[in-house]
């Protein structure tokens, strides 16, 4: 792949103070970005400035700071709307993270619709956060989970999704990008096929939104869940995008302050979306931090970040494949910069421990995707995932560390 010579990774790295530290006396090589990304100074300073000069609770007081904080919070909503290209800002609901966003759909949208025997279609490569909320509906209301398999390469055939949809299907819940295999799913096509059968689609965009440009209107999805901390933003903040046409029929999620219109001793009426789904004091500082993170990403440029990450992941995958006894799991033609691999005869945790001593942080384990581990008949994998600040030298360090592990295990 052609390198973008104007992409100054050394300068970008200076924006992330943690990247300068050492681990076990070695320079940190942080390749666990799919679990959580590091935060640029811009995000940390924006949150700090907001907290030290403009902070108060939102949507409540009449005093100056309350108004200022409310404005920043609502600006953050509009910033997310722009990032996802949603049609309306009231389609953006702030949550505690991606998990809460999916649970919100399960509780507020789907649960009231589910009769025993109704079906939810999902793929075998979902993260537990896009499995367990549907298991709740199976346990509590008799819903049936219909699993769509992936090929040996880790690809998902939209025709298989279409075949899994039946007259009782109430939702298709599918990842936009697998957190284990890196597979990008053909979301637009899945949405087209599902909508032809009048079935809405929820996409787990926790990885998909990090790599490349997401346009929820072009995708046509009904629900799209993202999390802030993988987008170089803070923890404790996520977003559910929900199409306006669903918002009216969705019942409230948690009950509390801010989500009401009026409360009397006998009755309660609810605020409109998005407030209806944001009970209690929301993560205000985190929302402002998320907006700063999206600014940072767009300043660097999403296409350029994507090209940089793809180039690195391509080199890493090629070099891992050249090693004896290393197997890559997930070789979809269309995939993001997430590489799962195993070194034959070395358990993922031993591998991750040895890599860690070389300063290389990777994830080892089942990645909260146990059905997928079963599909590929592994107890776990090691996973290297790339971010905008990773370098070719770090790919070299990864490969050297895997060689070291091979030496330890003979």
């Amino acid at each position: 792949m052609r390198q973008d010579t104007s992409y100054d990774v050394a300068s970008l790295r200076r924006d992330f103070p943690i990247l300068a530290r050492e681990v076990h006396g070695r320079p940190l090589v942080y390749l666990d970005n799919a679990a959580s990304a590091q935060k640029p100074k811009h995000v940390l300073e924006t949150m700090n400035t907001f907290a030290t000069s403009e902070y108060a609770n939102v949507h409540r007081g009449v005093h100056y700071l309350s108004g200022a904080a409310t404005e920043r919070y609502e600006e953050a909503r509009v910033r997310v709307q722009r990032f996802l290209n949603a049609a309306h800002s009231d389609e953006i609901i702030f949550t505690r993270g991606g998990t809460e966003a999916i649970n919100l759909v399960s509780y507020a949208y789907l649960a009231p619709l589910i009769q025993p025997g109704d079906e939810i279609v999902l793929s075998i490569m979902e993260h537990h956060s896009n499995i367990v909320p549907w298991h709740f509906l199976r346990e509590r209301q008799g819903a049936v989970l219909k699993w769509v398999e992936v090929s040996d390469l880790g690809e998902l055939d939209p025709a298989d999704v279409a075949r899994a949809i039946g007259p009782k299907t109430k939702l298709v819940a599918i990842s936009h990008m697998s957190n284990v295999l890196g597979t990008k799913t053909p979301l637009q096509e899945i949405v087209r096929l599902a909508h032809a059968r009048d079935v809405p689609v929820l996409a787990d965009g926790c990885q998909g939104a990090v790599h490349g440009v997401v346009d929820v209107q072009a995708l046509g999805v009904d629900f799209y869940a993202i999390t802030g901390h993988k987008l170089y933003g803070p923890t404790g903040i996520g977003v559910l995008y929900a199409k306006r046409k669903h918002l009216k029929s969705m019942r409230p999620f948690q009950g509390g302050g801010e989500m009401i219109r009026e409360v009397t001793k006998a009755n309660v009426t609810y605020a409109d979306a998005p407030m209806r789904f944001e009970a209690g004091t929301p993560p205000i500082i985190e929302a402002v931090g998320l907006a700063a993170a999206l600014d940072y990403i767009d300043d660097v440029g999403r296409e350029r970040i994507d090209a940089h990450e793809q180039a690195l992941a391509g080199i890493a995958a090629k070099r891992l494949k050249e090693m004896n006894g290393v197997r890559i799991i997930g070789e979809a033609r269309d995939k993001g910069p997430i590489i799962s691999f195993e070194a034959i005869g070395i358990h993922a945790h031993d591998l991750a421990t040895i890599l860690d001593r070389e300063g290389v942080a990777v994830r080892g384990g089942h990645h909260c995707a146990q059905p997928l581990m079963e599909r590929f008949n592994v107890s776990g994998t090691a996973r290297a995932s790339f971010a905008l600040y990773n370098t070719q030298a770090e790919v070299d360090a990864l490969i050297a560390a895997v060689h070291e592990a091979r030496k330890v295990f003979g």
Binding site: H24, G345, I346, H347, A348, H349, D350, T353, I354, R357, E358, G364, G365, H366, Q370, M373, S379, G380, E404, K407, V408, F409, G410
Partner: protein, 151 residues
């Protein structure tokens, strides 16, 4: 190689993990329990055959896991055979001290020497649970608890 790693992955540990002793079920087991570490998905099942005098006649394990958890289980089965239940529990107590960096003076000299190969794990706090999984499962089996978890 890093000194900590050298101590963690000693040859004897690698040997136990590649060629686990007493691997597989035993037919006349009267105490069985499964240990599960939900964080990593590792599973180990311990079989014990305990006679009327509370002596461990036979012991075995099966399961899957990292080199540390398999080696620890294998080493444990080697050391338990022929001991009384009370002695097994004492051994476990000493082992738990060792893997947390204590010199485990409660252990008999011989036992301490044999278990010391696992002491390197004390420098890897994230991995101590791997080393203790089989031992907790063994205790659960003796206590009749059926299964246990470390996380």
């Amino acid at each position: 190689m890093d000194q900590g790693l050298r101590e963690l992955y000693q040859e004897i540990i690698l040997d136990h993990s590649r060629h686990p002793r007493h691997f597989g079920a035993i037919a006349d087991a009267n105490h069985v329990a499964e240990g599960h570490n939900p964080l990593c998905g590792d599973k180990v099942k311990i079989y014990l055959s305990v006679d009327a005098n509370d002596r461990i006649k036979d012991v075995s394990f099966e399961g899957r896991g990292c080199a540390i958890s398999v080696a620890s289980a294998s080493l444990m089965t080697e050391m338990l055979k022929g001991r009384s239940v009370a002695e097994a529990e004492e051994l476990m107590g000493g082992f738990l001290l060792l893997v947390k960096g204590d010199d485990a003076q409660t252990l008999e000299e011989d036992d301490r020497e044999r278990l010391e190969v696992m002491a390197g794990v004390s420098a890897f706090p994230m991995r101590v649970k791997c080393a203790t999984l089989a031992w907790h499962a063994m205790k659960a089996a003796l206590d009749g608890k059926g299964n246990t978890r470390t996380e």
